[in-house]
């Protein structure tokens, strides 16, 4: 296999000395969709921001490496990163309307990437922006380009964000909960669009979500995060067919399903999601895990290879099927 497009190795992020991302590793191949899934506070967004070099002021990249096609992103200066952002690497966010400048017309905002990265100006940039709007399925793109974000719906704004992100044909798109703020019929449109664009352009996608349905629909491979660590990775079919970490297994069992048995008591994961900085000793899932024993509470299980297709961080991976 050729080397991966993006490779994250033992990444650590701290806020005020507290780790929020605690040594995570994963790869994304060319044109692949990797879904980073987890609950609030597990560090998935911080991981995305550290890949982009966009960590909030309080956060520090305190260890590990991020490599994009042989370039070590984590060693670049801010100016060097700027040349890559919006060009090789792009990102879209959860709140599409707020993510656009409310006082600038849509078209101008999309053109800006071309102006900065490609040196295009005037009519050429305008034309390209309108073409891109058409490509992401916005009807009447000439008119839309001349409108302000508040004149567009949330779904339209997310399409515009995608147009903005993809206009320089990046090799990696990071999508941070891109459909969480949208209605379900609009979510279907946006997911459909992202998949179509990936197929056409070969842009790899790092998709961050908490929704297992979205994962199943979109991902080629999945990395599950819990309390700052990756606890399981696998190709999407393998993961949904068989989970080797109790958290993944329970998470899938607890969610109500359209094809499940109604009104039955759902299996639950006992306890609470631990807050940042209050992560337990040993395996961080151990206080909530039905399989946990003293070993789990003492030693952190390493992310070990799982039948050559993925990896799991559990001392009892073999017994998980019994939960």
């Amino acid at each position: 296999m050729s080397h991966p497009l993006l490779s994250v190795d033992e990444l650590r992020v701290t806020i005020g000395g507290q780790p929020v991302v605690d040594g995570i590793s994963f790869d994304i191949a060319q044109g692949e969709i990797l879904s980073l899934v987890g609950e609030s506070g597990c560090g998935k967004s911080m991981t995305a921001f550290s890949v982009m070099g966009l960590l909030p002021r309080a956060a520090r990249l305190s260890g590990g490496r991020v490599m994009l096609d042989g370039t070590e992103l984590s060693a670049l200066t801010e100016t060097e990163l700027q040349a890559l952002r919006g060009n090789e690497l792009a990102m879209i966010f959860q709140e599409p309307v707020a993510s656009l400048n409310p006082l600038m017309k849509i078209g101008r905002q999309i053109e800006e990437s071309l102006i900065v990265h490609r040196g295009l100006e005037g009519r050429e940039a305008r034309r390209a922006a309108i073409d891109m709007l058409a490509e992401v399925g916005i009807p009447e793109p000439e008119i839309r380009a001349g409108q302000y974000p508040f004149e567009l719906s949330g779904g339209m704004c997310q399409r515009a964000m995608i147009a903005m992100a993809l206009i320089c044909r990046p090799r990696l798109l990071i999508a941070d909960e891109p459909t969480t703020a949208l209605d379900v019929t609009i979510q279907a449109q946006i997911l459909d669009l992202m998949k179509k664009l990936r197929d056409e352009t070969g842009t790899a996608i790092l998709l961050i979500t908490h929704d297992m349905g979205v994962v199943a629909e979109m991902a080629d491979r999945v990395a599950v995060m819990y309390a700052g660590r990756v606890i399981e990775t696998a190709p999407v079919d393998a993961l949904f067919a068989r989970q080797e970490h109790p958290y993944t297994r329970l998470l899938l069992k607890t969610i109500p399903r359209l094809d499940g048995e109604p009104k039955e008591t759902l299996p639950v994961i006992e306890g609470l999601v631990p807050d940042i900085g209050q992560w337990p000793e040993g395996c961080r899932f151990s206080p909530r895990c039905p399989l946990a024993n003293d070993a789990c509470r003492k030693a952190v299980p390493p992310l070990a290879s799982r039948r050559d297709i993925g990896s799991t961080a559990c001392w009892h991976a073999e017994q998980v099927g019994a939960i």
Partner: protein
């Protein structure tokens, strides 16, 4: 048939749009535009729909937090007259609400014990000591410790706050709970805890639920009956099993197919309907069938007349010209 606990008939809630130099109404947003719904004792009825469909407005109107423009709401056979303080007080003994965001549903300056005791205090139920005992009992009921009563809301996580809100809603032993997206602000691993708690409480106390949600998987799991709303109208209603197994209205069908299944194999083989375009603005809805702008089946008749809700099977009704 059992006498319904709550029955809503032809309810309308219209908000004026003000404009011009003197703020006169220049039009109306028909947030809820002629809705009939009933809930039997011990039953869970779900209102499903996307943002702006009017489902939360309907919930607020039943509670009297929003004044209806027209229509009637009867609770326990007696009409609910809004705007009458004494009536509202009595109503709140029987109907309570659980909000989506537990953070804003609790006063940050009050201890959770004070918050839970508030319904009792307002209704003058019991002495201070009795209320304290009741608070402890309620905390136990929702899986919290009696010792938590003196803490402020910010000492709790989202799931725990939702438990507190539920405890408060139960304080007066209501018959009906309006659950407005009760789990959508919670972490995935916490949702099933809260859903189970709600189902247990229902079994235990014979509660009726009006469950407002956009999450079809949760609705399917939770509700006996379901009403699908689109732009202020119910487009399809029936037993949850029937509606989910055999959706009649094209909107219900599209909505169901838009929900991604947590199962990649099934997902790939499933027929997906991707609707075109956005939800029209409730201030400026289309003529005829409200769904006509996005409907893959739309015919000329759909542009002209608004379809009535018609029975398609036993207790299953749909408002579509083409499928009935």
């Amino acid at each position: 048939m059992v006498e319904p606990l709550l029955s809503v008939s032809d309810l309308k809630v219209h908000y004026p749009i003000r404009g011009g130099l003197f703020g006169r109404p220049v039009g109306y947003v028909k947030a809820v535009d002629g809705i009939d719904i009933s809930i039997a004792p011990g039953e869970s009825v779900a209102l499903v729909g996307e943002s702006g469909c009017g489902k939360s407005t309907l919930g607020a109107a039943i509670l009297g937090m929003t004044r209806p423009t027209a229509g009637e709401i009867r609770f326990d056979g007696k009409p609910v007259i809004h705007g009458e303080a004494s009536r509202a007080r009595n109503l709140s003994r029987d109907i309570q609400i659980v909000f989506q965001d537990p953070a804003s549903a609790l006063n940050p300056k009050l201890s959770i014990g004070e918050s839970i005791a508030e319904p009792l205090a307002i209704h003058g139920v019991g002495t201070a000591a009795e209320r304290k005992t009741r608070v402890e009992e309620l905390l136990g009921l929702v899986g919290l410790h009696a010792g938590h009563a003196t803490r402020k809301p910010n000492a709790f996580s989202g799931g725990q706050r939702q438990r507190i809100v539920i405890a408060r809603a139960l304080a007066l032993n209501p018959k009906l709970l309006i659950l407005d997206e009760p789990v959508s602000a919670l972490d995935v691993s916490i949702r099933s805890q809260i859903l189970n708690l709600l189902l247990d409480l229902q079994k235990h106390f014979g509660l009726s639920y009006l469950f407002i949600s956009h999450d079809l998987s949760v609705v399917r799991h939770f509700a006996d009956r379901v009403a699908v709303m689109y732009l202020g109208h119910i487009v399809e209603t029936g037993a949850t099993q029937d509606v989910f197994a055999n959706p009649v209205h094209p909107y219900t069908e599209a909505l169901l197919s838009a929900v991604p299944l947590p199962d990649p194999m099934a997902q790939r083989t499933r027929r997906r309907i991707i609707l075109k375009g956005d939800l029209p603005s409730p201030a400026n809805p289309p003529k005829g069938c409200k769904f006509v702008t996005r409907c893959p089946l739309a015919q000329s008749v759909c542009h002209e007349r608004q379809p009535e809700l018609r029975r398609v099977a036993h207790a299953h009704a749909s408002a579509c010209h083409l499928r009935a």
